[in-house]
């Protein structure tokens, strides 16, 4: 095995035993990036020189604690001090943040080594990275397929062994859907578990920071570091973060697992349904109680989402006006003209669509019919989950209705591509933790299973995910990049 193929945990063991150095690991990862990046295209920026410098500095100290010396990637909407942060947009193509996001700072301070910033749909709006202003990332399992989105770069880079793990953000499925398409592990924790400070805002009542990794143990380990109270994010709760690793014992005996019938409906591919059903059987064999339940309002989550998320986005993206940072149209003669031309030229189509949709839903005469109505339905969707969690510990469903689709295949109609998020969006509506882990293959492409927990009970989500992983080997199968 090459160093770049290993998990965080395996790299830590080698470092602790003195069998490798951080510089060797970083060199291995950078060589891998060089070798496959022309095919996968996960990175917007590679910070090779800085990475190697930091690795050598850590090696000079001679001992490694936690994730010290381990390489990492960040979705390009995490502000990184002194390192270009584009958000996948022409608007921020040359933006160099004067500050560091709280989540990446925690990793940086513990010795994590940033090797680069990863591609994404512009302002995290999309399900394929095709909305990136720069290029489309390709799925390492099949280069003609999308990696999913919006965190497609974060998932593809981990799947292609370009980084052992990455951070990403999830507003309606942007961590879990690409993790499913790329066959890796992607966790969106409870809303309020991780600080959003320094992450470019999309829809502030739904956005949450999470982790993409090669396996469940690595994911829990990184979450342990980034989770917890931050005075700079008033929605980041002051609750103790339990020891996630302590719960990883492989046991689900006596646990109550629910699967909602609405998430296994006709819109979901038969092969995807079959794989998740087989996974549920596995849980039963391991001693869990598995029962069918109903989440009747989940079918309304997608139309609700496409009113609420754009409404919040239209407010958040008002700051991009060409005055203080980012792109500016130079030909305008007055300031209002400059705002409008800057925004028309700086934003891509999907961003403009959502900004207008949100502006419309919030505008005088439509506020009650659209925005307020959607907020009421959001409560019904969230209440459904509360009722099921009165009787069950965990809810399991497919992460997406299908495996990865072809590049260009769904670019014509926005509504078609929105459907990819139909099984992940309800979880954001309710603010709950959800993970996607690999549960099999459909014609050579990975399929993801979504495991949803109670609010702030990431521990149980990790425990259940780990038990499946321990009893299957899907997470160990890698794409055969370069040997097509």
């Amino acid at each position: 095995m090459e160093l770049h193929e290993l998990t965080v945990y395996e790299l830590q063991e080698l470092l602790a035993a003195g069998k490798t150095s951080s510089a060797e690991i970083v060199k291995s990862v950078l060589a891998r990036v060089d070798a496959v990046e022309s095919e996968v295209k996960s990175f917007i920026t590679v910070t090779g020189e800085q990475a190697l410098e930091k690795a050598l500095r850590l090696d000079a100290q001679g001992h490694y604690q936690g994730i010290a010396g381990i390489p990492m990637g960040l979705k390009d909407n995490f502000c990184t001090r002194g390192v270009k942060t584009t958000c996948g947009s022409k608007m921020l193509a040359n933006f160099i943040p004067p500050y560091e996001s709280r989540a990446s700072r925690r990793l940086d301070q513990q010795g994590g080594v940033l090797v680069g910033k990863l591609n994404m749909d512009e302002f995290a709006m999309g399900s394929s990275t095709e909305n990136s202003a720069f290029f489309t990332t390709r799925n390492p399992w099949d280069l003609t397929k999308v990696p999913g989105g919006s965190s497609g770069g974060s998932a593809a880079a981990v799947a292609a062994d370009e980084v052992p793990f990455s951070l990403a953000s999830d507003t309606g499925g942007s961590i879990r859907q690409p993790a499913a398409y790329c066959g890796v592990v992607g966790m969106k924790p409870t809303y309020g578990r991780v600080s959003r400070w320094g992450v470019v805002a999309f829809a502030s009542s739904l956005d949450q920071v999470g982790v993409v990794s090669k396996d469940v143990r690595d994911n829990a380990m990184i979450m342990q570091i980034i989770a917890g109270h931050d005075p700079l994010d008033s929605t980041c709760v002051n609750l103790e973060v339990p020891d996630y690793m302590a719960g990883l014992d492989g046991s689900v005996k006596g646990m109550r697992i629910a699967y909602p019938r609405e998430y296994f409906g006709g819109g979901v591919d038969q092969s995807v349904r079959d794989l998740v059903m087989q996974a549920l059987q596995k849980y039963e064999e391991l001693g869990a109680i598995v029962e069918e339940v109903s989440l009747p309002y989940s079918q309304y989550a997608l139309p609700t989402y496409y009113l609420l998320a754009p409404a919040e986005a239209s407010a958040n993206l008002a700051r991009f006006d060409g005055v203080r940072y980012g792109y500016r149209d130079r030909d305008a003669e007055n300031v209002v003209d400059m705002f409008s031309r800057t925004r028309d030229h700086g934003f891509g189509d999907e961003v403009k669509r959502r900004v207008m949709l949100g502006t419309h839903a919030l505008s005088s005469g439509y506020y009650d019919a659209y925005y307020l109505k959607a907020l009421k339905v959001r409560r019904l969707i969230a209440d459904d989950f509360t009722k099921v969690f009165n009787d069950y510990d965990i809810i399991i469903s497919p992460t997406t209705p299908t495996a990865a689709f072809g590049i260009g295949e769904q670019s014509g109609d926005p509504l078609t591509i929105y459907m990819n998020d139909i099984l992940t969006v309800p979880v954001n509506m309710a603010g709950l933790p959800g993970i996607s882990i690999p549960c099999g293959f459909d014609r050579g492409l990975p399929v993801g299973m979504q495991i949803i927990g109670k609010a702030f009970d990431e521990g149980t989500v990790y425990k259940v995910a780990y038990a499946f992983e321990q009893n299957t080997d899907f997470h160990t199968i890698k794409p055969k990049l370069g040997v097509r």
């Binding site: 004067p98 005075p231 709760v237 060409g322 207008m356 907020l375 339905v377 409560r379 509504l415």
Partner: protein
């Protein structure tokens, strides 16, 4: 509900987007189909349902009013499209 070109122009003006004529036609059609989809929510009775603006019980968060170092002015202005004498420069307003 179908959006007319005139309504798209109104929304674009509110959102400060100077759309081309082609964009207006394209977005009128696409936004109309998304709004039609959103109209499926009308089938749900929601009388008496409290709107859910935030999933957490949000309270105001207060801190002591202490002076702390702020960000470096030059570093921040380095991102400005146009600056002069530590100020942002914009085209004429009136």
């Amino acid at each position: 509900m179908a959006l007319t070109i005139k309504e798209v122009e109104h929304v674009a003006q509110l959102a400060r987007l100077s759309l081309t004529e082609d964009e207006k036609v394209k977005f009128a059609e696409q936004l109309s189909s998304i709004l039609d989809y959103a109209d499926t929510l009308n089938a749900i009775p929601t009388e008496g349902i409290e709107p859910l603006t935030h999933i957490l019980p949000i309270r105001n968060v207060f801190r002591e009013d202490q002076v702390e170092p702020s960000m470096d002015r030059e570093e921040i202005l380095a991102n400005a499209p146009l600056a002069e004498d530590f100020q942002y420069k914009v085209p004429k307003i009136m």
